[in-house]
């Protein structure tokens, strides 16, 4: 397959946008079931010539822990994790994340899996990138039903970390920590501002002119479809097959 031959896919644009936010990071961790963030992180690793280390949780082949599952949190607490990714069943305009469920807790109309490491990593990891591939008023809400992890903290609370951005299937928002609000940064190709307004349940800031999320250049696309696709196939075989048509290397 020659790079650039096939049309650019949305996943490739999203992964390239994510990689752009990881420049200079020494260590990036990718949580469970996060194939597009994983693709973006591996792209950052390839571009940096390996200087950006990537740990993909869920397998001892893609992590280096020798001190159990707490090692990720311990090294993050020591400032040794520069970037992480979080999603949520609900995310609100203050970047509060809900991974627990819908309804008046502890009652639940819908119960999700749980908060995982969010209530800690959101505080201590400097670049947390939020992602949600269903951009609707159901997922991007005015106020979450349950705060698994708050987007901002009161003055005086130790908080070197927090959200920097939210990327969806429609657009990319920056998070303004001082204002506690999102600001629309770019629309993915083919997406209109009206579409984003109609499908977003929270109020957000926007510049007078909103740009387009860039499509990856040929070099970047070659990296994504070459080494990155082969590496992500080992972790997320179903994703790699459907997006890149790549099979995992023989075990």
């Amino acid at each position: 397959m020659s790079a650039g031959a096939a049309p650019v896919r949305p996943e490739e644009i999203q992964a390239a946008a994510i990689a752009g936010m990881l420049e200079g990071a020494r260590h990036v961790a990718v949580g469970m079931v996060s194939p597009i963030p994983g693709t973006g992180a591996l792209l950052a690793n390839e571009r940096s010539g390996g200087a950006t280390r990537v740990s993909i949780l869920g397998s001892k082949k893609t992590t280096f822990w020798t001190n159990g599952g707490s090692e990720l949190f311990d090294l993050a607490g020591r400032g040794r994790l520069d970037a992480f990714f979080l999603s949520g069943g609900q995310i609100d305009g203050g970047a509060n994340v809900n991974l627990v469920g819908v309804g008046d807790y502890p009652e639940a109309k819908v119960r999700w899996s749980g908060s995982f490491g969010s209530a800690y990593l959101y505080f201590v990891v400097p670049r947390v990138i939020l992602f949600r591939w269903e951009h609707t008023r159901r997922t991007l809400v005015d106020k979450v039903d349950f705060v698994s992890a708050p987007g901002t903290s009161e003055p005086g609370v130790h908080r070197p970390g927090g959200p920097i951005a939210l990327i969806t299937n429609l657009c990319l928002f920056d998070f303004q920590r001082d204002r506690g609000r999102f600001r629309l940064k770019s629309l993915h190709p083919g997406v209109t501002l009206e579409e984003v307004m109609d499908n977003t349940g929270f109020d957000f800031d926007r510049p007078e002119r909103v740009g387009e999320t860039p499509s990856p250049d040929p070099e970047t696309l070659a990296l994504i479809r070459g080494p990155v696709a082969r590496r992500i196939a080992d972790v997320y075989p179903v994703f790699a097959r459907s997006v890149f048509g790549v099979e995992p290397a023989a075990a």
Partner: protein
């Protein structure tokens, strides 16, 4: 003293109703499925499960889901329950929606910190983060205190976790009862923190694991092990090579969508003893 060697049923008989049970997340081949099915056969009730820190891999999610569906569980303290990319844990989700299961929601590093405090015999651990989350608001065993060494620095403290009983599967043990866990060090912390540790192992070897310096750092010494059973395949549907038979998990999830389907699945599998078949 040598650790008692029993069969799986006799191990399970050491678990009383109402016990606080520690289990790990199932990233490695540690899911105690044979013990779980034996607890269901015995009709154990009111277990207070503590997941270290989640049961969100396919086999571990399924194990917890079976215990919940079978009515063995009063509460689950956890940072996440699911079958990972396969989807939600069906009986767990149904029980939460029905209000019949108490979930004590946590976050992974808080579980680890509290367990480490328990392992050290200390009353609580301090941890960054947490402040301002609704997790904190609903936990009466978490509090915010002032850092005694810095002015104006609020910090969360978490009551220690000490399970009554820990259950897991491990690759091997020796005749004394030393258990080799590889780099799965959560199991070591859990054994240190727990009053009773019950282990199924893939195999029992004839040499002393503590005599080999390359193996010994990955061993839980017999001192911390209450009883064990040699039970190959007791981590079903995990396989000894670290993979999981996802078709088994998918079949379970399809059946467990309804209470009736779950009951049928359970009675068929309690009879068939798939966990002892390999």
């Amino acid at each position: 003293m040598t650790v008692q060697q029993l069969d799986v049923a006799a191990l399970a008989a050491l678990v009383p109703s109402g016990a606080r049970i520690g289990v790990t997340k199932g990233e490695q081949t540690d899911v105690p499925m044979a013990l779980t099915l034996e607890l269901v056969r015995r009709g154990v009730r009111d277990l207070r499960m503590v997941t270290i820190p989640t049961c969100a891999f396919p086999a571990s999610g399924m194990m917890l889901d079976i215990l919940v569906g079978a009515g063995c569980v009063a509460s689950v303290e956890t940072s996440g329950v699911s079958m990972s990319e396969l989807g939600a844990a069906p009986r767990f989700s149904a029980a939460v929606k029905a209000g019949s299961l108490k979930v004590i929601d946590a976050t992974c590093p808080a579980v680890y910190a509290a367990l480490q405090a328990g392992a050290k015999g200390q009353p609580f651990a301090a941890l960054r983060g947490l402040i301002g989350s609704d997790l904190m608001a609903h936990r009466d065993d978490w509090a915010v205190v002032s850092n005694p060494f810095e002015d104006g620095d609020p910090v969360a403290v978490l009551k220690a976790i000490n399970p009554d009983v820990t259950l897991f599967h491990a690759p091997m043990a020796d005749r004394r009862g030393n258990v080799w866990i590889g780099r799965n060090r959560d199991l070591l912390t859990l054994a240190h923190a727990s009053a009773t540790t019950l282990v199924t192992v893939e195999k029992i070897v004839d040499f002393d694991l503590m005599e080999d310096e390359t193996l010994a750092p990955a061993v839980i010494p017999d001192f911390y092990v209450t009883a064990l059973a040699e039970a190959p395949g007791a981590c079903w549907p995990q396989r000894a090579d670290g993979s999981t038979d996802l078709d088994v998990v998918r079949g379970y999830m399809a059946a467990a969508r309804t209470a009736e389907g779950f009951a049928d699945w359970l009675s068929a599998h309690l009879d068939a003893r798939p966990e002892a078949a390999e």
